[in-house]
């Protein structure tokens, strides 16, 4: 079997996942790069059973108040998603789901403010198998389509209950067209700002008039769901500044109210098929998976955009191109991204340990770092990159490193002893610098860590000393600027 170096596998899993647990490092290390990428992409062949391990021994804990109800309690939904990020054997599925959650950024507070807290969680996070009315929340839809067809995702989003609340589509009527969704689908979901006109926004609002919500009754199984309300659809023709049809025609024809839902489908098809959308998505994928440093690589964008169009928007083909691209494997892109708070937290759990830690205790720190899952700041998603690193947010990262290192002090000391690395400060240092991989370290940083290990007295290797120094050092490494890059 061809083996791949830890360095390459770690890079792959930092990007296509949330870092590498020891078992993941071993599993993927036995593969060639091509096999590893294949395994990540073809995750359907790996059981989707991660949720069944919640609350089982050996896994990261969740904190349960009464019952664990991720389908109706947003705090539990956040815990479940973090649990999946740590333990799923389908890391790319979780990573793409995060990408889509940011791309189609929808915030819980507005849904909950509109329909109540339980319904807010339901429309975002319920699995159909656990909901009395078989509601599939937005996040589950994205997860099911994580490497699916972009056009299908777009159509699902347009009919998604949470989206229809979040972007006010539920109030889009022919008398009062609501522009919010029409604007964002062009500005943020597909072509990007500068590639449509204000007149396109007005026309788009009319296209989606009547794409509303209805709730048949009040029983628990009942729920708000998409309805095409023909009586509220504007039936006149809608002209755009860009081609809607393959023949170059830019006008959606007038249709009867009964047939009017096709307007929206036509517009979505056009947006999915647009070369502008292809490049917009390719550039966004470059920033998320390849590099945030320097300019977006133009040749990468052209190639990935071309695969997107040729495959007719198949995200699995697109992601294969991304993960096998020379840019992805260029050494200069290793550690060339600022980790998102959830990437940092989950990777720290995988690197430092999780037994005895509850993901619930990561939620407030994550909020202090600037990221609350299911609560992006607005429809544009999170401001990534340097914006994650306000002073308060950096301090929150350092303090989470402290919390986790303190929580894991016994496990850390045990691991050091088992690795026979507790006899000297150098042994301890090389053990943890190996376990918590960072961007390249300057010598004066490692020498400070080394000095720290010697700072408070002679080295005895006693249990108490190893616990203190192991947790202290892990705190310093995981809280270092170098560890924040992925």
């Amino acid at each position: 079997m061809p083996r791949t170096s830890d360095r390459r596998i770690e890079h792959l899993l930092r990007r296509a996942g949330f870092g590498a647990r020891p078992d993941e490092l071993e599993l993927y290390g036995e593969m060639s790069v091509a096999q590893a990428v294949d395994t990540l992409l073809n995750y359907e062949s790996i059981a989707d059973d991660v949720d069944t391990f919640i609350a089982k021994p050996g896994y990261v804990n969740t904190t349960i108040r009464g019952q664990f109800l991720p389908q109706s309690n947003i705090v539990d939904a956040r815990q479940r998603w973090l649990f999946r990020m740590v333990h799923s054997d389908r890391p790319l599925q979780e990573k793409m789901t995060l990408f889509w959650h940011n791309h189609f950024a929808t915030g819980y507070a507005k849904i909950a403010g509109t329909f109540g807290a339980a319904e807010g969680a339901r429309y975002l996070a319920a699995k159909s198998s656990e909901d009395p009315g078989k509601v599939r929340g937005q996040l589950e839809m994205l997860r099911d389509n994580a490497l699916g067809n972009f056009r299908d995702i777009l159509l699902n989003i347009a009919k998604d209950t949470a989206t229809l609340v979040w972007l006010d589509g539920r109030t889009n009527t022919k008398a009062k067209p609501q522009e919010n969704f029409a604007r964002e689908i062009m500005e943020l979901f597909t072509m990007g700002v500068g590639h449509y006109t204000e007149a396109d926004v007005y026309a788009g609002a009319r296209v989606f008039s009547g794409w509303n919500l209805a709730r048949p009754g009040t029983a628990a199984a009942q729920h708000y769901e998409f309805i095409y309300n023909a009586a509220q659809h504007d039936t006149a023709a809608k002209a755009f500044s860009f081609p809607i049809y393959a023949d170059g025609n830019k006008t959606i024809p007038g249709r009867t109210a009964a047939d009017g839902m096709q307007d929206g489908v036509d517009l979505i098809n056009a947006l999915a098929a647009s070369p502008t959308t292809a490049r917009y998505l390719a550039a966004k994928l470059y920033r998320f998976f390849v590099s945030e440093f320097g300019a977006v690589n133009a040749s990468f964008v052209e190639r990935v955009a071309s695969v997107y169009l040729q495959s007719r928007y198949d995200m699995k083909a697109v992601m294969r191109e991304v993960l096998l691209s020379p840019e992805f494997w260029d050494q200069s892109t290793y550690f060339a991204r600022y980790s998102w708070p959830v990437e940092f937290v989950v990777r720290a759990l995988k690197d430092i340990g999780w037994v005895g830690f509850s993901v619930n205790d990561a939620l407030t720190p994550l909020s202090n770092m600037g990221q609350i899952l299911y609560e992006p700041p607005d429809v544009a998603g999170w401001d990534a990159g340097e914006s994650w690193f306000s002073t308060g947010a950096m301090l929150a990262r350092m303090n989470f490193a402290s919390t986790l290192a303190g929580n894991q002090r016994f496990n850390l000391a045990k691991a050091v002893k088992a690795a026979n690395a507790s006899r000297t400060p150098e042994g301890l240092l090389s053990h943890f610098v190996g376990a918590l991989v960072t961007a390249p370290l300057d010598a004066d940083v490692t020498s400070e860590w080394s000095a720290y290990l010697r700072a408070t007295g002679a080295w005895t290797g006693s249990d108490a000393q190893v616990q203190a120094k192991a947790s202290g050092l892990v705190h310093l490494i995981a809280g270092s600027p170098e560890y924040q890059l992925v």
């Binding site: 507005k110 403010g113 509109t114 919010n180 500005e187 943020l188 700002v193 945030e292 440093f293 060339a336 600022y338 909020s367 202090n368 600037g370 700041p377 607005d378 429809v379 544009a380 401001d383 990159g385 340097e386 914006s387 690193f389 306000s390 002073t391 308060g392 947010a393 950096m394 301090l395 929150a396 350092m398 303090n399 402290s402 919390t403 290192a405 303190g406 002090r409 961007a439 300057d442 004066d444 940083v445 400070e448 860590w449 000095a451 720290y452 700072a455 408070t456 203190a468 120094k469 947790s471 202290g472 892990v474 705190h475 310093l476 809280g479 270092s480 600027p481 170098e482 924040q484 890059l485």
Partner: protein
Amino acid sequence: MKVTRRQFVKGGVAAFTVTFAAPEFLSDLARAQGSHVRNLVVLYMSGGNDALSMVIPYNDPFYTTRRPSIAVPAGQVLQIGTDSSRVALGLHPRLTGLKQIFDQGRLALIQRTGYENQSRSHFLGTDIWSTADPNNTQALGWVGRYLDSLPSPVDPLIGWNTTGSLPHVLQARTAVPAIASAAGYAFASPNAGAEASAERATALRIASHVPVDRPELAFVYGSSRAAMATLDRVASVGTYRPSPAYPNTGFAQALQAVAGAMSKAIGTRVFYVTTGGFDTHSAQNVNAVGGAYYNLMATLNDGLIAFYNDLKNQGLLEDTLVLTFSEFGRRITENGSQGTDHGSASVMMALGGRVNGGLYGTAPVLTPDPGNPTLENSAGDIRFETDFRSVYAQVLDGWLGTDSIKLLGGNFRKNGLGFI
């Protein structure tokens, strides 16, 4: 849409690397000499405040007819007199603390503030109010631009944002820390005693390291360094114990931290606080105890009066100006679900020890006549009378002592707006 903190944080790298004098001593000295500092607290009421339920033209017959289920009865408002157009006005019944401040002449209500073609979008609207630039909503924030105009080196604690992430108002080349809780703004350690001190000393030494030819990593180092440099001053605020205590709302606790920072004289001059939930599309329940809008007013009132009294007791009231804004006002006519939809002009408030309190501008006349000059959008919404940038100009010129024309990119000064 805002996509671009990236543009300005580039400059932040440089701002982080400078050293700064200890402003604590400077301001202590200044205070000992009897001079006052000028603090600005920007208060964002997020969601679009229904100003008609806050400052109520209770004798306007159309106030009741257009709001049959949510109007506050004339007998229950807290009367504050009539404005220059002789419209009788009253505060929301729950604003008893603000009424006291108004009666003491320290609360200015600036009516019908907004701008031409006001956006009814939360995002765009907030961006416009934040940048003071309807034509370039990706610009830096108007307060951020003020911070950038200060002589360098700028203290990393010159601003304090009490929310988790940086609001657009404070976007600047100068980095403004997000400190949601002073108590949480401390260097934690898995160990105690000498071990913890050794960790902290190591972290401090490492933070002063400057990576060569790795600007992105250097940026993270800059955040780390600024955090370490401000820890102790912020921590001193965490020990602030005001009496009487503030209410236990996020808003009031944020104001307590602001008062603490002023009291401990840590050098911060600009603060940002927010109170949310004003997007009252349905079941607005303006006048029912426990109702949605009633609760919003309770949170606002109880936090502000606690803050006001605290500052007054400490002799800091004259150092402080609170300025409120919201992205838009709301429709005049209530909707089908006992709420109000997105509208346009609203009321801004200015509060502080040197505020010339009272009613500024004129109230809208609510007659649903398309020709009604105080309304717009077929008499559906309130038309602005005072451009919000004129209010900002007054704050910049009259309080912060800078040049509003330069910072706002135009002359928005307006006569009759001398609230500060």
